[in-house]
Structures are given as C-alpha cells and as structure tokens.
C-alpha cells in the first residue's frame, strides 16, 4: 500500500473536501483532548452530515462524551478545529442545542420542570430582559412535544429518569437550534420514553435539523441512525450506517470486549472488506 491515507478516507465513502466542510453542521479536524497527560480523544476528524441523525459509538472510556463536550468548548481541547455550519463554534452558539447526560446534574436542585425548559431561552432573553408570556408559551409547547405538558410545575426531583431525560430534551427544543447534540439520550430510560424521544428526534430530522447522539445501544443503531462514527480514542471509521456499521469495524472498535456472538445478533451492514 502506498496511498494509505487517501485509501482510508475513500474507504469510509466519506471523501473530505473543503466545500463539504462548510456544508457540514459539525465538522471536527484533528481534535485531541487529554485529561492530565493521557489523551482521551486523539486526533479525530469527523464530518457529520446535514439533515441526518448521526451516532457516535464506542466502548466505555472511548471518549464519546469527551468528543462532544470538547467540540462544544465545554471542556478545553488540546488541539484541533471545530466548525459549526462552516463557522467557528462561538459564532454559531445560537444554532446549537445541547442535551447533557442526565446524571451530570443534581436533581434535588430547587427548580421546576418549566423553569428548566425556560433555561433554554435564557440567552435569548438576555441579562436585562424579562421572561414574557411568549417565552412561557414556547416552553410549554416544547414540554408538549415530549409529552410532559402536565408536569410543568413539578419539582424536578420528583421525576423518573425517563421524565428527566424528556425535560432535558424539551430544554434543547426551546433553544430552537439547527444542530442538536445529545449525550446518551437513551441511557437508563424506560421503553415508552425511548419511543417518545426517538419520535421527537425523527421529527427534528424531518424539519431538516442535524442531530448527533452519543449512543451506547448497538442493537438500535441501524433503526435510529443514518450516519455513524466509530470511536475508540481515535476514529475507527465514519460513514453511512449501511456501509460503515460492519462486523469488521465493530471488532476494530470494541476489540475483545464484544463477543462474536453478540456481533452476529446485530442487524449489520453487509461486511465491506
């Protein structure tokens, strides 16, 4: 092999060209993040497509959440470039909505469901503005979309895990973004909530929004997602689910941690060798 680098790019079926970069809702180039002196994510390139649902998958500790947080500037990056619709992240903040992991906050915090959703509107309201009836109606509508309209005045500590996740999604909806980044939206939620969340995400896709989810359940990758990034500290593969979500790539991502029998049970793309 002489042209190894070129070969890798084309094998993904995802050729990288400058115009492609500007079109992409989220393009990451050479991103490295380290905790202490150990890289959690090393030199990752990724170009997520528009009007699609993309998954970031990989084993525990592969740096999936880290990648997302570093792309958003929530945690500092050591090197690399990130563009949102071709613009630097800070210039595109109002086009991004973020759903953090449910476990990342204290649910005994003194706040109600509607107040959490209103947090998605804080930037729009500004420091000196007032929350008006219009804002509250927006928040209520977002709660309605996730099936939580009746819970508006509950204290958040009284919600089940699935309900908490729906509230976070409603807050992201209130942000009115074009790119939705979700960190494990299906982790530890009940079946009804998973269906409700998927419905909302598919609706967003139909509205021509782009979605990127950190995802852990390999069994649902092919039904929920269009595009997949396989990650284990470095990028293993990236591309449309039909061509990229293969047994070979999964083995490369998960190594011995994924039993062969488990792989066989998945509805995998025909192994592209």
């Amino acid at each position: 092999m002489i042209n190894t680098a070129l070969d890798l790019v084309t094998r993904d079926g995802w050729a990288v060209s400058p115009d492609n970069l500007a079109d992409s809702p989220l393009a990451i180039r050479g991103l490295t993040v380290a905790y202490g002196e150990k890289p959690a994510v090393f030199s990752v390139d990724a170009t997520f497509p528009a009007e699609a649902m993309s998954a970031i998958i990989g084993p525990n500790g592969a740096g999936k959440s880290t990648l997302l947080k570093a792309a958003l500037g929530v945690i500092p990056r050591l090197s690399g470039d990130v563009t949102i619709f071709g613009a630097p992240v800070d210039a595109a903040r109002n086009r991004i909505a973020y759903v953090p992991q449910r476990a990342s906050v204290d649910w005994d915090f003194p706040t109600t469901v509607i107040d959490v959703v209103l947090m998605g509107l804080y930037r729009q309201v500004g420091l000196l503005g007032w929350l008006t009836k219009k804002h509250i109606e927006t928040a209520r509508a977002c709660l309605g979309r996730v099936g939580m309209a009746d819970f508006a005045h509950r204290q958040i500590g009284q919600l089940s895990g699935g309900q908490q996740q729906r509230v976070f999604l409603a807050r992201a909806l209130a942000q009115g973004a074009d790119l939705y980044l979700l960190d494990e939206p299906f982790a530890g939620v009940d079946a009804a909530t998973e269906r409700a969340i998927v419905d909302v995400l598919k609706m967003l896709k139909a509205e021509q929004k782009a979605l990127v989810c950190v995802h852990h359940d390999l069994a649902t990758v092919d039904t929920y997602f269009d595009h997949v990034l396989l990650l284990n500290v470095r990028k293993i593969a990236e591309g449309p689910v039909e061509t990229t979500f293969t047994a070979e790539n999964l083995q490369a991502t998960y190594g011995g941690r994924l039993a062969t029998t488990h792989i066989e049970q998945l509805n995998l793309a025909a192994g592209a060798a």
Binding site: K69, L72, G73, V74, D90, R93, I96, Y98, P100, S104, V105, D106, F109, P110, T111, T112, D115, V116, M119, Y122, R123, V125, L127, L128, Q155, G157, R171, Q175, L181, D190, A191, A192
Partner: protein, 411 residues
Amino acid sequence: MSAFLNALLLGAGYNAALVAIGAALLGFAAGAAGTFLFLRKRALVSDAVAHATLPGVGIAFIVMVLFGSEGRSLIGLLLGSAVTAAIGLVIVEWMARRTRLSEDAAIGAVLSVFFGIGIVLLTVIQSMSSGRQAGLESFLLGSTAGMLYQDAIIIAVGGSLTVLATFVLRRPMTLVAFDAEFAAASGYSVRQIDLATMGLVMAVTVVGLKVVGLILIVALLIIPAVTARFWTNRSENVLWIASGVGACSGYVGAAISASAPALPTGPIIVLVSAAIFVFSLFFAPARGVAAALYRHWKFQRRVHLRQGLLELARGEPIFDTFTWRTLRRAGLIRRDGVATDAGRAQAAKAARDECRWDIARKAHQDTALTGRYDGLTPIEEVFTPDEIAEFDRLIGGPRIVRPGDHQGAPA
C-alpha cells in the same frame, strides 16, 4: 425590653435607626448573594474570602497612618480588605484548578494563612503609637457602637449595588449552578460567572465587615439560603426568601445590639438568623422536619388502612396494632374487631380493585400503566372509567353476600 422595642421601631435615635436600616440592607444583599453560593455548593469559599480580608484591613491602616492620616477611614479600610480578599479568592481558585489539591484543602490553607497574617498585623498595629484607638479588632466580630453616618451610607450603597448586580446576574448564575455543562455549551463562560458570584460574595463580606465582622459573615451568607430552601422548591423563590430572612436578621439583630451596646453585633445578627433557620427546619411546610414526619405518618396510615381492608375482605383477624387503631379511628371496625357497614363496603371495594388490577395485568396492553400498581394508587387514577368497566365485565359482575346466604349469588 422597652429599649429593644424602641430600637426595633427606629425610636432609639437617628444613628441607631440608620444602623438598623444599613444592617437590613446588608442582610438582604448577603441572602441574595449567598443563595447562589449555596446553590453552587461552594459555601466555604466565602469563609476563605472573609478571613482573607483581615490582612487588608491591617495593611490599609498602616498605609493610611504612614501617609499621615488617622487611619480610621472606613472606606480606606474596606478597600484594603477587598484587595487581600480578592487575592485570597484568586489563590483558592488557582490552587483548585491548577494543582491536584481539592478545593476544601485550598480553602483551609488560604483561610488560616491569611488570618494568621492579619492577626500578626493587628498585633503590630496595637504597638504603634496611634494604634490603640483604632478599634480594628471590631472587624473580627462586628460592632455598631460609634458607627458614623458616613459608615452607614457606605454600607447602604454597597449593599444596594450588590443586590442590583445579583439581580442582573441571577439567571446565568442559576444556570451555572444547576447545569454548568449546558451553560458552557450555550456560550456562557462558567469561569467568569463563578468569579462574578464570588465577587458578589466578596462585596457582601467587605461591606459587612464593620457590622457583622469577618468571622461570622459566612453565616449571614449561608443561613438565609439554607433557611429559604426549607420553604420552597424554586430557585427564584429561594433568592427572595433568603434575602428576606437576611434583611430580617440584620434589622432585628442591629436593634437588639443597639439596645444592649455591650453585645457584639455580628453574633446577635447570626443568632437571629439561626433562630429563623431552626424554626424553618421544623415547621416549614415544603421540606421541614415536622411536615416530613406528618407526610410519612399519613402515608403509613394509608398503607395500614389498605392492608387492614384487604385483611377484612379475606376475613382474617387483624393483629397489627397500628392497623387496628387506624381502622377503629376511621370507624371501619367495632371494638370486637368485626367490620362495620362502612368497613364491609370499603373492604369489598378494596378486594374488588385488587381483582381489577389482576385482570388489568392480563388484559391490558400497556405495561407502563399496569406497572403503576403499588398497592395504594387508586385504579381510577390509572385507568379510564370505560376501561374499568371492561375489567368488571371480565370479572363477571359484583357479588353481594347477604346474611343467610351460604354461597355468593350474582347480583
């Protein structure tokens, strides 16, 4: 007592009234700024900041004396304290972020070192010729005795500005306290907002040095917020209630102190707020201890009532004394343990609902609904009347057992 009432009603002289109003404003500002300190779970950082003011007071005094003034200008002393408090704050932040030390270790180190430096400086000042009248030790525990009109104005203006800034920043500070990751992703600088929160705390500390003193100002920052938490589940309300509790404590404390000038002001104000805290701890309806006990007792009663009714329906004797008392008090059984008419009716209803749940588990599609069975939730809250009617049809109609009948006859 009448002196206290006089002070409370602003009748103890112009100066005392001024001090009481100043202390109330200070308490309001402390409650407001402290709310975000408490929500962010960084209460003890304020203790480090407070102790770090002492060297500043000493240095400012020495500098002012060196420049030929008397060294008692309150604004000069407060500016000095603000400088060292800021240095202490920056060191705590830096140690927590850049070294592997945890924040509490950094707080401990900064607090003790700065306080130590401050005490050394105060001792040096005591030995200076003009030091004896300085009264700098009143900054430790606060004193309103001999407070001047200008001093009260400084406190009032500083307190008001702090309240205003807290109000403007309340939304970003709430967001960072609840979900810092989301705040960062939305483009807020978490670090700057944290620094702003601490800046407000520092402002309250410096403004409150004269009245409350540096050792106890942390109490006036934290106790109102903790107290407010017992009364409400909304952060916006925590903010207002904490401010109210702080203002109340400041006002009443200053009034008591004015009527008994030998008492140091700071401890009195803190004790007043502690009294409100203890009252709230027990009697607040939202999260107080008494309310929680009452709710638990009511819940326990529901459980025993339900179990008792099911035992009655099965014709079992009731052994549990709490169950027995619950049923007796509700008039469902007689003294000899036999069910009353009401008891029989309710027992039949309870037994029937159990049957309905059994059928629901078999017949109903939605496992999320049938999964809501917990023995207590009334079936009417989970299923619609037509669904329940359908369960009843599957059970096969209610049966009434009449005295004399040996077998149940369909009604």
